[in-house]
């Protein structure tokens, strides 16, 4: 005795991330101001 990929057109999941000052930043607060481009990268201080 015991299931989801993000697609265009879906509502974006909202999360709270930390800014460089350590304070939480909600994604929905950013998108409320206009379209947002999110760019993900492996790590700081690396070419990638």
């Amino acid at each position: 005795f015991a299931a989801v990929a993000l697609e265009v057109g879906q509502k974006a999941p909202d999360f709270s991330l930390n800014g460089t000052d350590g304070k939480p930043v909600k994604l929905s607060d950013l998108t409320a101001k206009g379209p947002v481009v999110i760019y993900t990268f492996i790590a700081a201080f690396t070419p990638t």
């Binding site: 999360f15 460089t20 930043v25 379209p35 481009v37 990268f41």
Partner: protein, 91 residues
């Protein structure tokens, strides 16, 4: 804005080093990246959990308008392609 799994202090140091004003956000707890299918993992190493190189555009209503997850972190999108997608997302 840029998102990675770095600690926010690492991002702050990098931002200062690069003299950048780009908004950088830390997903140190690995909550957002898996939900966006943008986290690279390795079955041989449970601690290997880093962001893939990916682009997302979310419009003002919070709807996903563009997704591009790159096969290799060495691949970049052309800025023109991203700009065109942003213009399409902004009515």
């Amino acid at each position: 804005m840029g998102v990675s799994t770095d600690h926010h202090l690492a991002l702050a140091a990098w931002q200062k080093d690069q003299k950048s004003k780009q908004l950088l956000l830390s997903d140190f707890r690995r909550q957002m990246l898996p939900a966006y299918d943008a986290m690279q993992t390795d079955q041989a190493s449970p601690v290997y959990r880093y962001a893939k190189r990916a682009y997302f555009i979310i419009d003002k209503s919070g709807t996903v308008k563009f997704i591009k997850v790159m096969d290799s972190p060495l691949n970049l999108l052309e800025p023109a392609e991203v700009l065109a997608a942003v213009k399409a997302a902004a009515p």
